[in-house]
C-alpha cells in the first residue's frame, strides 16, 4: 500500500512556506476558516539608499524594471535622534492621526509595514486609501515593507497570544531587523539612522522599551519637531490597548423594537406616540416628529434614539424623561464629514457611536447645560418601533472613498457605501460585483433591511442611470427621486384620444351633440396671457362694459373633462400622474400631448370648447352676479406677459382688445387690494429663471424673475374663479366637493423667526391671524437694505404649513380656510390640463350646473379621499422636482465660472452659517473650516445669533447680515458630486 505522506514535510522548501490561518465570520453568521499560503523570502529590499546589499537582490517586474529605492540616505534628524531617523508607525498611529502624516513640514522617510497596512485596511478603508496615496508621493518617501513575507521578520503567532499582541510584536520585530540590517549593510563612513517606532498604545511602547527598540508616542515625537506645538492639536491622547479593542461581531448596535401589540397599547394609553419621522436637513443625527399630544415637535437625537428610523417612516416614540430634554442643535452635523472614514466591509469592528459623533453630541450637551434659560428645552424622544417603512428606491452614487482598490471585474462581491441624493437618507451599504462599472454613475438602489447589528441600512443595486452630471442621467435621477411617472403613455391611454387627432374641430353644425347646453361665446373678444412659449394654455379672459356701467368679466378654462371621460384608461393614468411636472428643459405631461397642447389648449384663432365662469362686476370690483357655463370660444390672441404689459403701457394702442385688458388690469388691482385687506399674505420664495442656449439647451445664465402687473392680473382672476367654483361645488356637494385648504401654521412655528427679528432688529412679528402676520411682515423693512423684507418673507414662508387638497366631508367648515389667500373656501379649477384636481372640480361643477349626470367616481367619498391623498403627494413632488431641476441648472450655468455676489445670512450655527444668494436663488452652507486654511476658533452667541471667529481669520457674522460671497461650482473630491460652493469674501 502506498501512503500519502504529509507533503509539506517532504518539501525542501518547507521552511520557507508558512500558512496564515484566520477565522472570519460572515454577515449571515457563518464562521469561515481561511487558510492561505505565505511564501517567505529574503529578497525583499529594505529600500534604503544607504544599503549596499539589497540592490543585488531587489525584485524586477516583468519588463525588467527595478523599483527605485525610497528611503533617503540622509534622513532628517531630531533633537533625540541627531544621526537621522526612519519612522515605523503602528496601525494605531495611522488610525488616530493620519492628518499628521500628510503634513509637509515633517514625517518623511516612513516605513509602512505590511501588517500595519493590513490592519488599517480592515479598520478604515478611506484611511487606507489615503495612506496608499502617500506611499505613491515621491517627496514623502513612504515605503511599504512586506514584513510578513520576509523570512527574518515573519512572526508566527504564539499559543495564547492575541492577534493584536502578535501584530504589535511583528512591528517591533521589523523595527529591530531594520536596525540590525542597516548597521550591517550600510556604506562605510555613514551613520546608521535610528529606526523609531511610533505608537499611541502604552502597552506596545512599554514592551518596546523593554526590548531595547526605539519607540515614541506620537505626542512625544511631535514635541521634538520644529513646529511641533502646532501639530500637537492633531494628536489624541495615548490610549491603553483595551480602549481601542474591537467590538465583537454579532453584537447588536441598536435597541430592539417593541412588538406591534405593545406599541398599539402604548399609543392607546398615550404612553407612546405615533407620527412621521423627519430628519433635520442640517444635522443627520437629529430628527423630529409631530404628535398630537405635544404642541412642539418632539426631538429625536443621536443614532441610538433614532434607532434605524429613516426619514418618512411612520414610527412610534417614547418621550424621554424631562432631564434629558434638549434644544435643537445649533451645529451643522453632516454625515459625509463625520462618517467618511468608515469601512463598508468591516461593519463588526466599528464602534457603534464613533468617536467623532460622540464628540459632536458632547459639545451639544455642554452647550445646553451651560444655558440658563431652561424654557427653551424641547421634549426629546426615542424611537421604539416602526409601524410602516416609507422606503422607496433612492438615487445616489457610490462613495469613492469606500471602494477598495481591488474593485474588480465581476466575481467578488464588494461592499460599498451609496450616498443618496436626498441628504436626509443615511448612506446605504451595498454589496455589488460591479463596483468599477458603477463608480461615477448615478445609480438607483433600494433599502432591503436594517438589522440591529448593522450600523447602516443595507440595500441592493437596481440600475444605473448613466454618468454623473450628464443631463440625461441627472434628469432621470430627479424624476425618480420625486417619483414622477415619466414613461410614455401606454397605448390604452392613447386609444382614448379622439380619432380625428389634430384634425379635430369644434363641430360646425349647432345640432351636434357636442353643442348641447353649450353657450356660443365665439364673438367675445377673448385672449390669453401666459408665460413666453406656453403651449398648454388652460385659461383665457375677456371683459366688456355693460350698459348699466358695470363690467362683464369672463374666465374661460379649457374643457378637459369633455375629452377625459371619468373611469377610462386616460383618466386613470392622469389621476396617478396627478400633475404635469415642469423641469427647466423638460415637461412631463399629465395628459397626452394631443390634448394638452392642441385640442384642449385655448389656442388663438381657433374655436375651442371651454368651461366659462362669468361675473358681473361693479367698477369697484364688487361682484353682482356670477354664472358658470360650458361654452365654445375663439381666442383672439395669445399674449405673453411681456407683450400684454407692453400693449397696456402703450397709450397709442386704443383697440377694443387692449382696452378690455386695461379694464381687467384695473379690476384686478382692486381685487388684490380687497384680498390684502382681508389678510392675504404676500409670501415669497426665491425665484429664478434659467436661460438656455436655444440650440444645445445648455444653461447659460440665471435671471431672477421679474414681476409684471399682467401676472397679477391673471392671478387675481384665477383666484376669483377658483373661489367662485369652490363655493358652487360645495353648495352642490357638501360632502364630496374637492377643495383646497391651507391650515393656519401653529404659532410655535414662528417662535424662532420672531425671536430672531426681535433680537436682531427689534421688530415684532405678530402671528395671531394672517392679517396680523401680513401687517407685521410689511413692517419688516430695512431702509438700507431693500432685500431684507423679501428675506424675512422667504423665512416666514418656510414656517408655513403646505396647502392641501381635501374632500369637503372630511373637515368642518372653519377648517376649509385658506390661510395664505385669506379665503374661506378655495379649490383648483383653472388648470385642468396640468392638474388632476382641477379636472375633478370641472366634473363636479358640470354636475352642479346640471350639464351632465354625476359620475359615481366623482361622488364616492372614499375614492375621492384616495385621489386627494395622491395628488397632494404628486403636487408636492412636482414642486420639489421643479426646484431641484432649477438648482441643478443653476449649478450647471455656474460651471467653470466664479462670480462674486451679495448674499444674506439666513441661518446661523455654532460651526457655520447659511447664506442665501438672491441672484441665483441658491443657499449654501459655509462652515467654519471653509473660512481659512486651518479652522478658525469661534465663539457662538446663541442668544444674539452672532458667530465671532478668531485666530486664522477674524470675522463677525450675524443673522440677516449682508455678505459678499464668491460663488463657484465645485466637484467634491470624495463623492464626485458637483455642487455650488460659496466662499465668504467679506462681510459688509
Amino acid at each position: 500500500m502506498a501512503s500519502l505522506k504529509r507533503s509539506v514535510e517532504s518539501d525542501p522548501l518547507a521552511a520557507n512556506i508558512s500558512n496564515k490561518i484566520y477565522v472570519r465570520s460572515t454577515k449571515s453568521g457563518k464562521v469561515q476558516k481561511i487558510v492561505r499560503e505565505v511564501y517567505l523570502r529574503q529578497d525583499i529590499p529594505c529600500s534604503s539608499k544607504l544599503c549596499q546589499r539589497c540592490f543585488t537582490t531587489a525584485p524586477r517586474d516583468a519588463s525588467g524594471k527595478l523599483i527605485p529605492f525610497v528611503l533617503s540616505d540622509s534622513p532628517a534628524g531630531t533633537k533625540v535622534f541627531p544621526q537621522g531617523h526612519y519612522l515605523v508607525p503602528d496601525t494605531n498611529a495611522f488610525l488616530t492621526a493620519m492628518d499628521l502624516f500628510e503634513q509637509e513640514s515633517a514625517f518623511y522617510d516612513v516605513i509602512v509595514l505590511q501588517i500595519v497596512l493590513e490592519e488599517l485596511r480592515n479598520r478604515s478603508l478611506p484611511l487606507y486609501n489615503r495612506l496608499l496615496s502617500l506611499t505613491k508621493s515621491e517627496d514623502k518617501r513612504f515605503y511599504v515593507f512586506f514584513n510578513e513575507f520576509r523570512l527574518e521578520t515573519h512572526v508566527p503567532r504564539l499559543d495564547g497570544e492575541t492577534v493584536n499582541d502578535r501584530n504589535d510584536r511583528a512591528v517591533r520585530k521589523a523595527v529591530e531587523w531594520y536596525g540590525e540590517h542597516l548597521a550591517r549593510s550600510k556604506g562605510k563612513g555613514k551613520d546608521v539612522p535610528a529606526i523609531v517606532m511610533l505608537s499611541n498604545d502604552r502597552d506596545n511602547l512599554k514592551k518596546a522599551k523593554q526590548e531595547g527598540v526605539n519607540a515614541c508616542s506620537l505626542a512625544d515625537y511631535v514635541k521634538t519637531l520644529k513646529d511641533g506645538e502646532k501639530l500637537l492639536d492633531m494628536i489624541p491622547e495615548t490610549q491603553d490597548s483595551d480602549q481601542i479593542k474591537e467590538k465583537r461581531p454579532g453584537d447588536n448596535l441598536y435597541p430592539e423594537y417593541f412588538s406591534m401589540s405593545k406599541m398599539m397599547t402604548g399609543v392607546k394609553n398615550n404612553l407612546l406616540h405615533q407620527g412621521i419621522f423627519n430628519v433635520s436637513p442640517y444635522n443627520y443625527l437629529e430628527g423630529s416628529i409631530r404628535v398630537p399630544a405635544f404642541p412642539k415637535a418632539l426631538l429625536i437625537l443621536g443614532r441610538e434614539n433614532i434607532n434605524r428610523a429613516v426619514d418618512g417612516d411612520l414610527v412610534v416614540v417614547e418621550v424621554l424623561p424631562k432631564d434629558q430634554w434638549k434644544e435643537p442643535s445649533t451645529q451643522v452635523i453632516e454625515e459625509d464629514a463625520i462618517t467618511k472614514n468608515e469601512n463598508p466591509d468591516a461593519e463588526e469592528s466599528d464602534d457603534f457611536v464613533s468617536e467623532k459623533e460622540r464628540k459632536a453630541l458632547q459639545e451639544e450637551v455642554k452647550r445646553t447645560q451651560s444655558k440658563t434659560t431652561e424654557g427653551h428645552a424641547q421634549p426629546t424622544a426615542k424611537v421604539v418601533g416602526v409601524i410602516k417603512r416609507n422606503w422607496r428606491q433612492y438615487v445616489g452614487h457610490i462613495d469613492q472613498s469606500s471602494v477598495s482598490q481591488s474593485a474588480n471585474q465581476g466575481k467578488k462581491q464588494d461592499s460599498v457605501f451609496v450616498i443618496p441624493m436626498d441628504k436626509k437618507i443615511p448612506k446605504i451599504r451595498l454589496r455589488t460585483r460591479q463596483v468599477s462599472e458603477l463608480l461615477g454613475k448615478r445609480i438607483l438602489v433600494t433599502i432591503d433591511a436594517w438589522d440591529r447589528s448593522s450600523r447602516h441600512p443595507s440595500g441592493h443595486f437596481v440600475r444605473s442611470l448613466g454618468e454623473l452630471e450628464t443631463k440625461a442621467a441627472e434628469t432621470e435621477a430627479l424624476l425618480l427621486e420625486y417619483d414622477v411617472q415619466y414613461r410614455p403613455f401606454p397605448k390604452t391611454v392613447l386609444d382614448c384620444l379622439p380619432k380625428e387627432g389634430h384634425d379635430w374641430k369644434v363641430p360646425q353644425n349647432l345640432e351636434d351633440p357636442g353643442w348641447k347646453d353649450r353657450q356660443d361665446l365665439r364673438d367675445l373678444l377673448i385672449c390669453s396671457i401666459d408665460p413666453i412659449g406656453c403651449q398648454d394654455i388652460d385659461d383665457a379672459l375677456h371683459s366688456r362694459p355693460l350698459p348699466n356701467g358695470n363690467f362683464e368679466v369672463g374666465v374661460h378654462i379649457a374643457d378637459v373633462s369633455h375629452f377625459v371621460r371619468p373611469g377610462n384608461a386616460m383618466d386613470a393614468e392622469a389621476s396617478i400622474r396627478g400633475t404635469t411636472v415642469y423641469l427647466v428643459d423638460k415637461r412631463i405631461d399629465m395628459l397626452p400631448m394631443l390634448l394638452g397642447t392642441d385640442l384642449c389648449s385655448l389656442k388663438p384663432y381657433v374655436e375651442r370648447y371651454a368651461f366659462s365662469v362669468i361675473w358681473e362686476m361693479t367698477p369697484s370690483a364688487d361682484i353682482v352676479g356670477s354664472r358658470f357655463t360650458k361654452s365654445v370660444i375663439k381666442s383672439r390672441e395669445a399674449f405673453s406677459y411681456e407683450q400684454a404689459q407692453l400693449r397696456v403701457d402703450d397709450s397709442s394702442q386704443q383697440d377694443e382688445l387692449t382696452t378690455n385688458i386695461r379694464i381687467l388690469l384695473d379690476l384686478s388691482k382692486k381685487l388684490k387690494q380687497k384680498r390684502l385687506d382681508a389678510g392675504a399674505l404676500s409670501l415669497s420664495s426665491p425665484e429664478v429663471k434659467v436661460q438656455m442656449e436655444s440650440e444645445t439647451s445648455d444653461p447659460i445664465d440665471v435671471k431672477t424673475k421679474v414681476h409684471l402687473d399682467t401676472m397679477s392680473l391673471v392671478e387675481e382672476f384665477m383666484l376669483l374663479a377658483n373661489t367662485s367654483v369652490a363655493r358652487r361645488i360645495h353648495e352642490a356637494f357638501p360632502q364630496t366637493a374637492i377643495l383646497r385648504r391651507h391650515g393656519a401654521p401653529p404659532k410655535t412655528n414662528f417662535d424662532d423667526l420672531a425671536n430672531q427679528l426681535k433680537v436682531k432688529r427689534g421688530l415684532d412679528l405678530s402671528v395671531e391671524s394672517s392679517r396680523a402676520l401680513a401687517d407685521s411682515l410689511d413692517r419688516c423693512v430695512d431702509e438700507k437694505e431693500p432685500f431684507f423684507n423679501t428675506l424675512v418673507r422667504i423665512m416666514a414662508t418656510r414656517c408655513m404649513m403646505s396647502a392641501e387638497y381635501f374632500c369637503s366631508g372630511t373637515q368642518s367648515y372653519p377648517e376649509f380656510r385658506h390661510y395664505g389667500l385669506a379665503s374661506e373656501i378655495y379649490t383648483h379649477f383653472t388648470s385642468p390640463i396640468r392638474r388632476y384636481a382641477d379636472l375633478m372640480a370641472h366634473r363636479q361643477l358640470a354636475a352642479a350646473i346640471e350639464y351632465e349626470a354625476v359620475h359615481p367616481s366623482t361622488r364616492s367619498r372614499g375614492k375621492l379621499e384616495a385621489v386627494c391623498k395622491n395628488i397632494n403627494v404628486r403636487h408636492r413632488n412636482a414642486q420639489l422636482a421643479g426646484r431641484a431641476s432649477i438648482a441643478y441648472y443653476v449649478g450647471q450655468a455656474l460651471r467653470g465660472k466664479a462670480t462674486e455676489e451679495d448674499g444674506f445670512v439666513m441661518k446661523i450655527f455654532s460651526n457655520g452659517f447659511v447664506v442665501l444668494v438672491p441672484k441665483f436663488g441658491i443657499e449654501s452652507l459655509i462652515r467654519l473650516r471653509d473660512l481659512a486654511e486651518t479652522e478658525p476658533q469661534a465663539e457662538f452667541d446663541a442668544e444674539n445669533y452672532v458667530l465671532t471667529t478668531g485666530g486664522s481669520r477674524e470675522l463677525r457674522v450675524e443673522l440677516f447680515q449682508k455678505v459678499r460671497v464668491r460663488v463657484t461650482d465645485q466637484k467634491d473630491e470624495t463623492t464626485g458630486k458637483r455642487g455650488v460652493k460659496m466662499e465668504l469674501v467679506r462681510t459688509y
Partner: protein, 277 residues
C-alpha cells in the same frame, strides 16, 4: 483580512509573497492507489486533487445519448475504433471555504470535464484501443485556485501511471495579470499560477501545453482581459507549463527509480531507454 491584489505594485509582491513569475509549491505522487490501473495525487499550493484511471477497458452500458451524460466524453464513441475518454470530476463539499454541495449537473464541473476529456483524447493514443473506454475519475479535496490546471496535471500523471501510450506530457498552469480589466493598466505584469484570491480579483487564463514544446493543447479564458495583455500572459503561462513538466517528470522518474529499487518491476524490461540520472 490580508491585503488584496491591488498592492502588487507597491513591492512587486503578490498576496502570498510570490513574485510574478513564481509557481507555487507543487507536490505530486503517483501510484497512490495500488488497486487502480493508474492513480496520482497532486498539490499546487492548497489546491489538492486525486486522480484514478481505469482502463482502457470494455465500455460499460451506454449512459444516455452521446454527450448528454454527466461525464465528459472525449474522442469517439465506444463503438468506434478509437477509445472513448470519460472524465468524471467530484468536488468534495469541504474543498472550499464555504461548504457547498455541487450536484452532478453543475455547469462549471461539466465544462471542466469536457475540456479535460477533449484535451486528453487528443494526446492519448486512443486509436490503439478500439471499442474501449478510458475512465478518468478526479476528486477535488481542496481548492485554492488553478483547479483546472491541477486536474489536467493530475490526470497526466495518472495516465502515465496507467501506462496508456500518449504523445507527451500534457501540463497546465494558469496565468493572470496584475491589474483588473477595468483598471486598463498598460504596464500590468503577467502573473503565473493564480491562487484563489487572485483568480477572484484578477483576469486569468488556463493554458496546457504538450511536453517541452510550445504547442498549446488547451486554453481556457473566462474573464475579460485587454487583448494587448494576452500575449504576455500566454507567454508566462507556457513557460509555467514547462516548469510544471520538469516537476512532473521528476516525480515520475523518482517513482520509476523507486520501483526498480524495490523490485516492483524487473530490471531491463522496458526501462533501458529510461533516463535514470
Amino acid at each position: 483580512m490580508p491585503l488584496d491584489t491591488s498592492t502588487y505594485g507597491l513591492a512587486l509582491l503578490r498576496v502570498d509573497g510570490r513574485r510574478w513569475n513564481e509557481l507555487r509549491r507543487i507536490h505530486a505522487q503517483i501510484r497512490t492507489q495500488a488497486a487502480a490501473d493508474g492513480s496520482s495525487y497532486l498539490e499546487m499550493g492548497h489546491t489538492k486533487v486525486m486522480c484514478v484511471v481505469t482502463g482502457p477497458s470494455e465500455p460499460g452500458p451506454r449512459r444516455g445519448a452521446a454527450g448528454g451524460a454527466a461525464g465528459g466524453g472525449g474522442g469517439a464513441g465506444g463503438q468506434s475504433k478509437d477509445a472513448e475518454v470519460v472524465v468524471n470530476i467530484v468536488i468534495a463539499g469541504f474543498s472550499s471555504v464555504d461548504r457547498k454541495r455541487r450536484g452532478r449537473g453543475d455547469k462549471r464541473t461539466l465544462e471542466m470535464q469536457s475540456t479535460l476529456a477533449n484535451t486528453l483524447a487528443a494526446t492519448l493514443h486512443t486509436h490503439l484501443f478500439p471499442h474501449s473506454q478510458i475512465n478518468i475519475s478526479l476528486h477535488v479535496l481542496s481548492q485554492d485556485g488553478s483547479l483546472l490546471a491541477a486536474l489536467i496535471n493530475a490526470a497526466t500523471l495518472a495516465c502515465v501511471d496507467a501506462g496508456i501510450p500518449m504523445t507527451d506530457y500534457v501540463t497546465a498552469c494558469t496565468a493572470g495579470s496584475t491589474s483588473t480589466y477595468a483598471a486598463n493598466d498598460e504596464g500590468a505584469d503577467p502573473l503565473l499560477d493564480l491562487n484563489h484570491q487572485e483568480e477572484q480579483e484578477l483576469p486569468g487564463l488556463t493554458v496546457a501545453t504538450l511536453g517541452d514544446s510550445d504547442r498549446v493543447v488547451a486554453l481556457v479564458c473566462e474573464s475579460r482581459v485587454q487583448i494587448s495583455r494576452l500575449e504576455g500572459m500566454l507567454a508566462v503561462g507556457v513557460d509555467g507549463c514547462k516548469q510544471v513538466r520538469e516537476i512532473l517528470d521528476q516525480v515520475i522518474k523518482a517513482q520509476g527509480q523507486k520501483m526498480i529499487l524495490e523490485g516492483t518491476v524487473d530490471k531491463g524490461t522496458g526501462l533501458n531507454d529510461m533516463d535514470l540520472d
